[in-house]
């Protein structure tokens, strides 16, 4: 049986690699809390590469303008049509910022416009329970970005399943640290990342 391999998507237009420690941190959490067979290291795959179809969950982030070229757009459309899921997180945490504006536009052009995800969605109970919906990040309250707590995530769904999950909450900053540093926190703030991965693998 094939193991889960964390995949970071590389796109041509921006700083796709802005959260280099996130993959190792989430891989550590999945291995720590679940019995899912997970590869020890993640991979980076260009969005226009056929190799993207070997990884049905792709993580995308950045600070800069998010634009897909024709090849990337066509590939990603096919990717979700076949059952893949994309998780996109605004590393700026700024609804007025350039990543958010371009990403939401690009999502609408490639798939369909985002809709707010209800906070009782199955995503929030896929493994850990998040009764209030998406957990707030420390970056939502520290004066960076738009200084707002965004109460909802957004999604494009297909046949009741999330095919594109979009976040303004800057989980990329929240989870972009060495997993060794988890021991300094009383509550592991990567648990919601485990939910995203378990949801992708079971829904």
């Amino acid at each position: 049986m094939s193991e889960f391999v964390f995949c970071t998507g590389r796109y041509a237009s921006g700083d796709w690699e802005s959260a280099p420690l996130l993959p190792a941190n989430l891989i550590d959490s999945v291995a720590r809390y679940t019995s899912i067979e997970v590869a020890a290291t993640g991979v980076t795959v260009p969005l226009d590469s056929p190799r993207i179809f070997d990884h049905p969950l792709v993580y995308l982030t950045g600070h800069l303008p998010f634009r897909l070229n024709e090849a990337e757009r066509a590939n990603m459309r096919l990717f979700t049509e076949r059952g893949g899921m994309v998780f996109i997180d605004d590393h700026n945490h700024d609804v007025g910022g350039i990543f958010h504006k371009t990403a939401t536009e690009e999502i609408g052009r490639t798939w369909s416009p985002l809709r707010a995800l209800r906070n009782d969605h199955r995503l929030y109970s896929a493994f850990f329970e998040f009764k209030e919906g998406p957990p707030a990040t420390s970056h939502e309250l520290n004066g960076w970005g738009d200084n707002l707590i965004h109460p909802h995530l957004s999604a494009v769904t297909k046949d009741g399943r999330i095919s594109v999950l979009y976040s303004n909450k800057d989980y990329s900053s929240e989870w972009n640290y060495h997993p060794e540093n988890k021991k300094f926190s009383s509550v592991d703030n990567t648990r919601f990342g485990v939910n995203i991965i378990v949801y992708a693998l079971t829904s």
């Binding site: 049986m1 094939s2 889960f4 019995s35 049905p56 076949r82 059952g83 693998l201 079971t202 829904s203």
Partner: protein, 325 residues
């Protein structure tokens, strides 16, 4: 006067008896013995019925209908030596069954001479043309209406359409991973109602659908994708014995608990190719190989109790969906 009348009547009665005896015992006329020419079957049957013939030779250019078949049988039962030949007639047989699935497709099997061309039709008209190979060919049709007929080479065979096969729920057992996710999605897209128990962590399962006990009143089949099915192995074996179906894939085939019912075990050797999978080994004598590549069995099935079990070496079918072809 009276005695003369009596003698005359006795003579007449005796003459009538002699005539009847002679009619019954006389040899058949040469004209009644022989064969029914093409197209003259009905005429020959009438003649052979009116007057007993020792033999009736029939040359057929098309399959006789049931009435004529019964008529020939009756003439033979009456003592006539009936024989037939049909040098140009192509024998055809047809069988119709329902595929046990939500879509309710129809499987039509045609038997006949090699390379015979047979036209399939149903109550609404022509469906398809089949070239019979190796004496038998099958077609799976989306739907059919009324009676299915197969005709060709002067022959025609018919079979009624059976009612749809009962379809119940499926239960998928597996560990959290792409295979379980895509198998459940594929089954649901095909119209199946799927319950799933997906193991995420020790003692932690994600469940989809109802939590019924595994019995044939509720489930058509259980699909065990890996060793996470072990806790239910006993229930699965009882389910299969009672008439349920089981698909054991990958590591599930190697569970000792399934050794009695599994057609074979998958792996560790893999078969490379367009659709790689684990090679089946230890295939039981009563198992039928359903799929193979490069001489290696990948899928096999056998009966167990009243049910059936399929062993599959394909453990990454999700890749067929993500990377078709």
């Amino acid at each position: 006067m009276r005695s003369r009348a009596e003698w005359a009547l006795r003579a007449a009665a005796l003459a009538a008896l002699v005539l009847l005896l002679w009619t019954a015992l006389r040899p058949p006329s040469a004209a009644a013995r022989g064969s029914a020419a093409r197209g003259g079957l009905e005429r020959a049957l009438i003649d052979a019925t009116r007057e007993a013939v020792p033999a009736l030779r029939v040359e057929l250019d098309s399959a006789p209908d049931p009435v004529h078949r019964e008529w020939l049988a009756a003439i033979r039962a009456a003592g006539t030596d009936v024989a037939w030949r049909a040098d140009d007639l192509v024998p055809i047989g047809v069988g119709v069954s329902r595929v046990a699935e939500p879509e309710g497709r129809v499987r039509v099997t045609v038997a006949g001479s090699d390379s015979a061309r047979v036209i399939l039709s149903d109550g609404l008209g022509q469906l398809d043309t089949v070239a019979v190979g190796a004496s038998q060919s099958s077609r799976v049709l989306r739907t059919a209406t009324g009676v299915v007929a197969a005709a060709g080479g002067g022959s025609r065979a018919v079979a009624p359409l059976p009612p749809p096969a009962p379809v119940r729920r499926l239960l998928v057992l597996g560990a959290a991973g792409w295979e379980a996710k895509f198998v459940v999605a594929a089954l649901e897209e095909s119209g199946w109602s799927v319950d799933a128990r997906i193991r995420v962590a020790p003692g932690v399962e994600t469940r989809q659908g109802a939590s019924y006990s595994l019995d044939t009143a509720r489930y058509s089949a259980v699909i065990a994708l890996d060793a996470s099915a072990a806790p239910l192995a006993g229930a699965i074996e009882r389910f299969v014995s009672a008439g349920g179906g089981a698909v054991l894939a990958g590591a599930a085939t190697r569970l000792p608990a399934f050794a009695r019912i599994a057609p074979g075990t998958a792996g560790p050797a893999r078969v490379a190719g367009a659709r790689p999978g684990l090679r089946l080994s230890g295939i039981k004598r009563d198992a039928v190989i359903l799929d193979s590549q490069r001489g290696a069995a990948l899928v096999a099935a056998r009966r167990a109790g009243f049910g059936r079990v399929v062993a599959s070496g394909y453990d990454e079918t999700w890749r067929w969906r993500m990377r078709p072809g």
